[in-house]
């Protein structure tokens, strides 16, 4: 796209724009936990590219950089020692999953503070963010992080600025082992299934691709060797947009709008039908007549 602009698919708190003529494939990040060495190149590549400052950390008895992502740290390798017959040291790159049906976008009340580009990237537009934090509630993956100074929320942008000019995201570019790949969704899904087949042949009978249908699939897909235990990797089993957010946006919002408008209409009709309860003043009734 010329000029670094990207067409939008969805916009928070707004009606969806009509799709343009140009077809744009959905882009997807592929993560293979079975060849990830937890080197954290992606963690700092992300920070370096996005000009995010280093966080102050402490050693609390793990190789993991931080307990969780922060507004300045959008990409975290989660380390877990997992016993399953033998010992496994699981490492999974955690970041925004770029859901096909993003809960953050659904929950966001500020128009265009969260957008989904035509290529599937879900991006926060901090200029429009009001810092309400509903996206934090809407996200089934615990991704958006509130920044205490700017009072806005941040997360992985899938390096949309790079993707827009044909470069792969900074984390993908950095990844030394090739456990991260980037391409169209169909390519990546194919790659993931190929890898899962390979793993199954090597005895990882539970190997699977994590692409949860509950959020319409994610544009970050993850190959897990122990697919029966996504929780061991720190992944929710069946992520969906929280019921509360769906109730609010799909039911209560309309119900509320209707009842407010309805209430006003009923009041008006009532007034037209019955009018006010005016008091006949004994003394001044003659001259005052009406107080309003």
């Amino acid at each position: 796209m010329a000029g670094g602009t990207l067409e939008l698919r969805r916009i928070s708190a707004s009606k969806s724009p009509a799709p343009g003529i140009r077809q744009m494939p959905t882009v997807t990040k592929y993560i293979d936990t079975t060849t990830c060495i937890g080197c954290k190149a992606c963690e700092v590549a992300c920070q370096e590219w996005n000009d995010l400052p280093a966080e102050t950390t402490v050693q609390i008895g793990t190789y993991q950089t931080l307990p969780d992502m922060t507004a300045n740290f959008w990409n975290l390798i989660r380390f877990a020692e997992y016993e399953n017959g033998g010992l496994h040291w699981l490492m999974r790159k955690d970041q925004c999953m770029h859901c096909e049906d993003p809960g953050c976008l659904k929950a966001c009340p500020a128009p265009s503070a969260i957008v989904q580009y035509m290529n599937g990237i879900v991006d926060f537009q901090q200029d429009h963010c009001i810092g309400c934090g509903y996206c934090i509630t809407g996200c089934p993956f615990n991704i958006p992080k509130f920044h205490n100074k700017t009072k806005k929320v941040y997360k992985c942008t899938l390096c949309v600025d790079r993707v827009a000019v044909g470069l792969e995201p900074a984390c993908i570019k950095a990844c030394p082992t090739g456990c991260l790949q980037f391409g169209t969704k169909s390519q990546m899904v194919q790659l993931a299934h190929h890898r899962v087949e390979q793993l199954k042949n090597q005895g990882y009978s539970q190997a699977t691709v994590y692409d949860p249908p509950g959020v319409g699939g994610t544009n970050v897909i993850t190959v897990l060797a122990y697919g029966d235990r996504p929780d061991a990797y720190g992944l929710p089993r069946n992520p969906t947009i929280p019921l509360a957010v769906r109730l609010w946006k799909d039911v209560l919002q309309w119900l509320g709008n209707l009842s407010i408008v309805g209430g006003l209409i009923i009041a008006a009709l009532h007034y037209l039908r019955f009018g006010p309860k005016a008091v006949k003043e004994e003394a001044q009734a003659a001259e005052s007549g009406d107080e309003i």
């Binding site: 990207l6 969806s16 190149a41 128009p111 901090q126 429009h128 949309v160």
Partner: protein
Amino acid sequence: MDIPMTRRSFLKIGTIGGLTASTFGFDLKPAFAQVRTLKIARTTETRSICPYCSVSCGVILHTLGDRSKNVRPTVVHVEGDPDHPINQGSLCPKGVTLKENIVNDRRLTQVLYRAPGSDHWEAKSWEWAFDRIALLIKQTRDARLIEKDTRGRILNALTAVGVIGGCTDCTENNYLLVKAFRAGLGVIPLEQQARI
């Protein structure tokens, strides 16, 4: 600084939402958003090699501020060289943060000197330092050069001065160290990191 930069210069979608947002369904027009200006769009690229481990990844140093007078270029970004057959653009967490190795407020920028018995540094000029160090080396060499051993064999060896270094530096400087200090001054204790 711990406030993230504003990522977008401007957005074209500002008017979407707001007062016009109260209709249902699709908007009639596609919408576009301007994404952040690519920060390496106007940089000069220099090909280099990562100075850390021995894999020797190709890196591209992106500099800004060159090609005009009185402007010192600075490195604004470092990224893996995608043409390099080993790293093919990738880097490890150390290579990714190479910019900090170059642009770092802890970098030494002047000659420091600690006098005998002192507990602090003093800033000195290069000229002073070269004069002083050269004199000290010469004094030690003149006093301690072993021209011949006790059996009368010619040695011309200097063991009172040691020279260590090089593995962090380019090959040419390793060679210059060997040439100047061993072939020139006769230094025998010449070592680098290889054994340790």
